[in-house]
């Protein structure tokens, strides 16, 4: 990143004479050629759809008849007349609050264990990472349903009955699937831990700091940007979970709407019931909610995230 300073000297070497502007313009043109696929995608597949979905959220639209303007009705219906909507909000928030801290906590503990390991670190790192890739598949979601079903392994081992059939428990089965995929944040934690200079620990040992003290005063602050990165990333992803809930509940969000995650209900309203306007309103509330949560995380991060390069702040 520091190399970005070099061209400044290169450019002053030969200042363009007034008549030679086309040279820089040609380079500017080249940039736009390189950028053109992205510009097209951003305009047609991101910006335009965002505007359209905002518009549709104020309409009644079933994909076949032209959209009919209904003002705020979708939103008022959502907030005041639709108990299933609130159940989907509740299920999603519960899931985020359970799954994300457990997953990140486990990832941190395992990363700390692996960091102090001399042999076998590479092996464990890869092995623990594998579920993060496999776990997103429909195959594993189906395994989860069977293992947590009545008569499945968990039922037999713990005698709790099948989790996926019990309203209070089904959500935990899905959350456990997410926790199981702690490998991705763990790998990022481990990379962060390995960048903490060993001299810090050496100096602290010389000063007689205990391991606990070293963990709280060196590891946590030095790792805080990585903790923050993982927290934001996993939270945003958790809000959008879909496949496991679909598989576990056969696409219905049951039992008793306990796994009716927000995205599942959005899919149900938009693509099953053909209420595209309502689903668009739901999408915009999700967008605003994720934006708000991210903003809050960023705001609070000022108090606990420490960036070494910026000095004490």
């Amino acid at each position: 990143m520091t190399t970005t300073e070099i061209p400044a000297t290169a450019r002053t070497r030969q200042p363009d004479p007034p008549g030679k502007r086309p040279r820089t313009r040609r380079r500017e043109g080249a940039a736009w050629v390189f950028l053109s696929p992205w510009v097209l995608g951003a305009a047609v597949l991101t910006l335009l759809p965002m505007a359209v979905s905002l518009y549709l959220s104020f309409t009644d639209y079933d994909l076949f008849n032209p959209p009919r303007w209904v003002g705020l009705r979708n939103y008022t219906q959502m907030f005041t007349e639709d108990p299933r909507y609130w159940r989907s909000v509740g299920a999603t928030l519960t899931y985020v609050v359970i799954a994300v801290p457990l997953q990140l906590g486990l990832a941190l503990v395992v990363a700390l264990a692996l960091k102090s390991m001399r042999r076998g670190r590479g092996f464990y790192r890869s092995a623990f990472y594998a579920p993060s890739l496999l776990g997103a598949s429909m195959s594993i979601a189906l395994v989860w349903r069977a293992v947590f079903n009545d008569g499945g392994t968990v039922d037999n081992l713990l005698g709790t009955g099948g989790w996926v059939n019990r309203p209070g428990w089904a959500l935990f089965a899905v959350a456990l699937l997410t926790v199981w995929q702690f490998g991705a944040p763990m790998v990022i934690f481990l990379a962060g831990l390995q960048q903490i200079p060993a001299e810090l620990y050496e100096a602290a040992s010389v000063d007689g700091a205990s391991r606990r003290r070293q963990f709280l005063s060196i590891t946590v602050p030095m790792l805080s940007p990585v903790i923050f990165f993982n927290l934001v990333l996993q939270t945003i992803q958790a809000f959008q979970v879909f496949t496991p809930a679909f598989a576990v509940s056969a696409g219905k969000g049951g039992p008793a709407d306990s796994t009716l995650f927000y995205t599942l209900y959005l899919y149900d309203r938009g693509f099953v019931a053909s209420h595209m306007g309502y689903a668009s309103a739901m999408a915009w509330v999700l967008l605003l909610a994720i934006g708000a949560v991210t903003a809050v995380l960023f705001r609070t991060s000022r108090n606990w995230v420490f960036y070494a390069s910026e000095g004490d702040r």
Partner: protein
């Protein structure tokens, strides 16, 4: 806990042993679902539920024979081909479009670069659902619903900003002098992109390719809304038809097909795990 204090001087071997025992135990628990999947795919119907044993009493290879027949009269080979086509197209699209955009952001100067870059970063956090319905309407208007276009075309337009960012970060680390030298030798921006920068960016491109393949392969939601003819189904979508059926007689074939659907990811993982893990570790946080 976090550091091995060699300074302590006394043997800390027991500590290390405990660590390995703990890690191996955790690994066993974590691998259980995978072992269960493999075992169940080989179990006869009556053993699936009745028996707690992980090992099947007798190997039921016919599960795989049934799975190869596929679902809805579409063979597994066809489903596999469809999945490969979509994932392959996505890989080509992402590598091409993301490296082009990344080069502009990382190395070229143009008006509005700052705001556009900030916008690109912001789209990483944008939930897919905010653009989903209008995208669906657009593809519907273009007559592309129930084709592979909606699954592949967006990748050619660098819509996965995560990868643009990944490649930008990598390109920023390459020495500027290389391009300066190329320019003095008479290379324009296109030539120096293809001949100098792109070959050096290979590690980031490989990471992009592998992750694109695996994520596209695993993707369920997009396929679910855009594809509805059984002969266009992917393996993931075909598995979906087992979601509604809960009869245990279909358990064996269902999990045999699940194994087949996981196989490419497992192979990718075994072949590229170094790239995958490094790629994840370096995904933008090191700067």
């Amino acid at each position: 806990m976090t550091i091995s204090t060699a300074a302590a001087g006394k043997p800390v071997a027991w500590r290390r042993v405990a660590l390995h025992v703990g890690c191996l135990a955790a690994l066993l628990v974590m691998l259980y679902p995978l072992a269960w999947l493999l075992a169940t795919s080989l179990k006869p119907a009556d053993e699936v539920i009745a028996s707690l044993d992980l090992l099947p009493g007798s190997l039921e290879w016919s599960n795989y024979r049934t799975a190869l027949d596929g679902v809805n009269d579409v063979s597994v080979w066809r489903l596999l081909g469809n999945s490969l086509f979509i994932a392959g197209g996505a890989v080509v699209g992402n590598v091409l479009s993301c490296s082009l955009a990344a080069y502009a952001f990382a190395r070229l100067r143009f008006r509005f670069r700052g705001p556009l870059f900030a916008f690109m970063i912001a789209t990483i956090m944008l939930p897919h659902h905010a653009v989903l319905i209008p995208q669906y309407i657009i593809f519907n208007q273009l007559g592309m619903v129930n084709t592979y276009w909606p699954l592949i075309l967006p990748k050619f337009l660098a819509t996965e900003a995560f990868f643009v960012f990944l490649v930008v970060q990598f390109m920023r680390g390459l020495p500027r002098e290389l391009e300066e030298a190329a320019r003095i030798d008479g290379c324009g921006p296109f030539r120096s992109f293809f001949s100098v920068i792109l070959p050096l960016t290979r590690p980031a491109l490989i990471t992009t390719a592998i992750f694109t393949f695996i994520w596209t392969w695993n993707d369920f939601f997009t396929q679910l809304i855009y594809l509805f003819s059984p002969e266009k189904f992917t393996l993931t979508l075909a598995l979906r038809s087992f979601v509604d059926a809960s009869s245990t007689s279909a358990f064996g074939p269902m999990f045999a097909m699940s194994v087949i659907a996981l196989l490419p990811i497992v192979l990718f993982f075994l072949a590229f795990q170094r790239f995958l893990v490094e790629g994840m570790a370096n995904s933008g946080i090191k700067g």
